[in-house]
C-alpha cells in the first residue's frame, strides 16, 4: 500500500481543478492590471500637483491634494461643464430611449408600407464616419440657428445614436411572443397602452443596455461637441478637459483631476445598470 502521493482519482481531480483555477485567477489579475492600470494611474495623479508628477510620475499621492477637485469645480468652470453634460446627455438619452423604443416596437410588430426602405434609410446612416457628416451638420445647425446651442447638440446626439438604439431594441422586441400583445388587446388595451405596459417593461433589460451604451458614448463624445459648441459656458465635460491643455504647457495634474470628475458619473451609471446590462446581453441565450 502506498502512503504518499494522491490516494484516489477524486483527489487528483480536485488538485488539478484547483491548479486550473489558480492559473485562471493569475491570468485575470494580470489582465485587470493591464486594463485598469492607466485608470488607476490617472486616479493617483488627480490627487497630485503637476510639479509633483514631473518629479516622479509614478509616486503615491502623498500628501493628497483633495483641494484640486474643488479648484477644478469652482475656478475652472467644471460645475458648468458638468451641468451641461448632465442636461445634454440626459435629454438625448431620454429622447433616444422613448422614440427609439417606439420605432423599434413598430418595426418589430407591425407591417406597413415602405417598412424595408425606412429601415434601410435609418441604418445606412451608420456607414458614414462622423468626420464626414460633421461639416454638413455644422451647416444645417447654423442655418436653423441651432449652432452653439445645447438643444442643437441634443438633436445631433439623438440622430447619431438612433440607428443603433433601434437596432438593439428591435431585435429584442421581435422576440417577445405575439400572443402577449394579443392577450393585452383582449384585455382591452390600445396599441399605445400596450407599448407602455407590455413592450417597454418586458424589454427593460434591452432598454437598460441602450441607456448605458448611449450614456457612456455621449458622455465622452468630443468631436461633435467641439465643432458645434463655441461658448465656454455651453461646453460639456470632455471639452472642459481642453482647458488644461495649452499650446506650450499641459497642466497634467489638473487634467487628471478633470478626467476623474468626468469619469465618476459613468462608473456610477454602469454599476447601477450593469446587472440589467448583462441580462440584456444574455437574454434569450438561456431559456
Amino acid at each position: 500500500m502506498r502512503t504518499t502521493g494522491l490516494a484516489t482519482p477524486a483527489d487528483q481531480h480536485r488538485v488539478s481543478s484547483r491548479l486550473r483555477n489558480l492559473a485562471l485567477i493569475i491570468g485575470l489579475a494580470l489582465y485587470t492590471m493591464y486594463a485598469a492600470g492607466p485608470f488607476a494611474w490617472v486616479a493617483l495623479m488627480s490627487l497630485r500637483t503637476t510639479t509633483e508628477i514631473a518629479a516622479d510620475p509614478y509616486a503615491l499621492p502623498w500628501p493628497m491634494h483633495w483641494d484640486k477637485f474643488l479648484s477644478a469645480w469652482v475656478d475652472s468652470n467644471y460645475d458648468v461643464y458638468f451641468l451641461n453634460s448632465v442636461t445634454i446627455v440626459l435629454s438625448a438619452v431620454a429622447i433616444l430611449t422613448v422614440v427609439g423604443g417606439m420605432a423599434a416596437h413598430c418595426f418589430a410588430r407591425y407591417t406597413f408600407r415602405f417598412k424595408g426602405l425606412l429601415y434601410f434609410l435609418i441604418f445606412s446612416t451608420i456607414i458614414f464616419p462622423p468626420q464626414v457628416t460633421v461639416i454638413g451638420l455644422f451647416q444645417i445647425l447654423v442655418e436653423y440657428g441651432l449652432f452653439n446651442n445645447r438643444l442643437g447638440l441634443v438633436l445631433v446626439y439623438v440622430s447619431i445614436q438612433m440607428p443603433i438604439t433601434i437596432y438593439i431594441l428591435e431585435a429584442f422586441f421581435a422576440r417577445i411572443p405575439n400572443d402577449l400583445f394579443d392577450a393585452a388587446r383582449m384585455d382591452g388595451y390600445s396599441e399605445w397602452e400596450i407599448f407602455w405596459k407590455i413592450s417597454f417593461p418586458v424589454a427593460l433589460p434591452a432598454i437598460s443596455t441602450t441607456i448605458i451604451l448611449n450614456t457612456i458614448l455621449l458622455w465622452n463624445e468630443f468631436l461633435y461637441a467641439v465643432v458645434l459648441i463655441s461658448d465656454d459656458d455651453k461646453r460639456t465635460l470632455p471639452l472642459g478637459v481642453l482647458r488644461f491643455m495649452g499650446d506650450q504647457l499641459e497642466d497634467v495634474g489638473m487634467l487628471a483631476t478633470g478626467l476623474m470628475i468626468a469619469i465618476v458619473p459613468v462608473v456610477l451609471i454602469y454599476i447601477f445598470f450593469s446587472e440589467r446590462l448583462i441580462q440584456g446581453m444574455t437574454a434569450g441565450a438561456v431559456k
Binding site: 402577449l180 392577450a183 388587446r185 382591452g188 418586458v202
Partner: protein, 364 residues
C-alpha cells in the same frame, strides 16, 4: 347571454389567393361548448381569431347576440381568450396578471381585489398571487391563463389549444376542470383543438373543419357515428373508420370480393362507392358463413384492453383494421372472416367523398 353567429365568413391574407377560411357559417348557441376540430392548417385558429377580433374578416358577418361585430375592435367585444402559450405577462405577478383586464375597465380597486381573490381561490392559486409567471409550473401557468379569462366574466370564452403544452396526466385533469367550469359558468365557449379526444369529451357540439371549410357540425356522437364525408370518417376515431372501394349492385355493394346487402340510396348498379365501417363494428366470425369481408391477417397488436387486427383485403392496399377484445383467437397469417354489425355500414360517393344521404341503413 351570448349567441355567436358566423355567416359566410371568409379570410384571405393576400387578395385573390387561396382562402384560409372559406365561407364558414356557424351558430354557437348561448351557453354552448363548441369545439372547432381539424388538422393543422384547416383554418380553425384563424376562425377563432376572427371571432376574437385579432384578425380582420375578409367577407361575411360575425355577430354576437345579433349585433354585427366585424368593425368592433377586440377590446370592445367583451370576449376573453386563453392562448396556447398562456401569454402571461412575464413582468407582472399572478395578482396583476389576473387584474390587468379589470383595471382597464375602470373597475374600483377594491372590487378588482375581491374578484381576483375569488378567482384565485377557485383555481387553487391563492398562495401564489405574489409570484411571477416564471416561478410557476406549466399547470399553474395554465390555470392563471384560465383565471385571467374567468375573472373578466366575459360574454364568450375562446380557447386556442389550451392543453397542448401540458403533459398527458395534467391534460386529462385540466380537461375535466374545463368541463366543470363550463357547467358552473354556463357561458358560451368556443374551443379550438386538433385533439379529437378533447373534442369528443368536452364539446356539446363539434365543428370539424378541413381546408378552411366546415366539413360537419354535430354532437360528438353524431359526427362519430354518421360522418358526413370520408374526410370526417378518416379524421375521427383512433384508429379511424375503415374505408374500402366498392361497387353498387341491385341489392347492395360488392366489396373485397364479397357482397354486402343493404340500402345504397338508389345508386345505379355499377356506381363506384366507398364502403365505411368502424374497426369496432366488425365482428370476427368462426366460419365463412355470413361474412362480408375476408382477408389475411397482417399483424396483431395487443393493447391490453383491446387488440387491433390488421387485415389485408382484396379491395385495397390499405389494411383493414379490426378492434377486438382482449381474448382474440386471431393469429398472424390466418384468413379471417368478418361481418359488419347491422346498421353500422356507411357508404360514401367515390367522387365527392360525401356520405350517401340519408344515413344508409340495411334492408331488413
Amino acid at each position: 347571454m351570448a349567441v355567436v353567429t358566423l355567416e359566410n365568413i371568409c379570410k384571405s391574407y393576400v387578395a385573390g389567393e387561396e382562402r384560409a377560411v372559406d365561407d364558414v357559417s356557424l351558430t354557437i348557441q348561448d351557453g354552448e361548448f363548441m369545439v372547432l376540430l381539424g388538422p393543422s392548417g384547416c383554418g380553425k385558429s384563424t376562425t377563432l381569431r376572427m371571432i376574437a377580433g385579432l384578425e380582420s374578416i375578409t367577407s361575411g358577418t360575425l355577430s354576437i347576440d345579433d349585433e354585427p361585430m366585424n368593425a368592433v375592435p377586440a377590446k370592445n367585444r367583451d370576449i376573453a381568450m386563453v392562448f396556447q402559450s398562456y401569454a402571461l405577462y412575464p413582468h407582472m405577478t399572478v395578482r396583476d396578471n389576473l387584474g390587468f383586464g379589470l383595471k382597464r375597465r375602470k373597475i374600483p380597486k377594491a372590487e378588482v381585489a375581491k374578484r381576483v381573490e375569488a378567482v384565485a381561490q377557485s383555481i387553487g392559486l391563492s398562495d401564489y398571487l405574489e409570484r411571477k409567471p416564471h416561478a410557476l409550473s406549466g399547470g399553474q401557468r395554465q390555470r392563471v391563463a384560465l383565471g385571467r379569462a374567468i375573472v373578466r366574466d366575459p360574454k364568450v370564452f375562446l380557447f386556442d389549444e389550451p392543453l397542448s403544452n401540458l403533459d398527458a396526466a395534467l391534460r386529462v385533469s385540466t380537461r375535466a376542470e374545463l368541463v366543470r367550469l363550463h357547467r358552473e359558468l354556463s357561458a358560451t365557449m368556443i374551443y379550438v383543438t386538433h385533439d379529437q379526444v378533447e373534442a369528443m369529451t368536452m364539446g356539446d357540439r363539434v365543428c370539424i373543419m378541413s381546408k378552411g371549410e366546415v366539413a360537419q357540425v354535430g354532437t360528438p356522437m353524431d359526427v362519430y357515428l354518421n360522418p358526413a364525408s370520408t374526410f370526417v370518417a378518416s379524421f375521427l376515431g383512433n384508429p379511424p373508420m375503415n374505408l374500402l372501394p366498392c361497387v353498387a349492385d341491385e341489392t347492395g355493394v360488392n366489396v373485397a370480393g364479397r357482397h354486402w346487402t343493404g340500402n345504397t340510396n338508389n345508386s345505379s348498379p355499377g356506381t363506384d362507392l366507398v364502403f365505411g365501417i368502424r374497426p369496432e363494428d366488425l365482428v370476427h366470425l368462426e366460419s365463412e358463413d355470413g361474412a362480408n369481408i375476408s382477408g389475411e391477417i397482417l399483424s396483431v397488436e395487443p393493447l391490453g384492453a383491446e387488440t387491433l387486427i390488421y387485415v389485408q383485403t382484396q379491395a385495397d392496399d390499405q389494411p383493414l383494421i379490426v378492434r377486438e377484445g382482449r381474448a382474440t383467437t386471431a393469429k398472424l397469417g390466418q384468413t379471417i372472416h368478418l361481418a359488419c354489425k347491422p346498421g353500422m355500414v356507411r357508404l360514401f360517393d367515390a367522387q365527392t367523398g360525401l356520405a350517401l344521404t340519408p344515413p344508409t341503413g340495411e334492408t331488413p
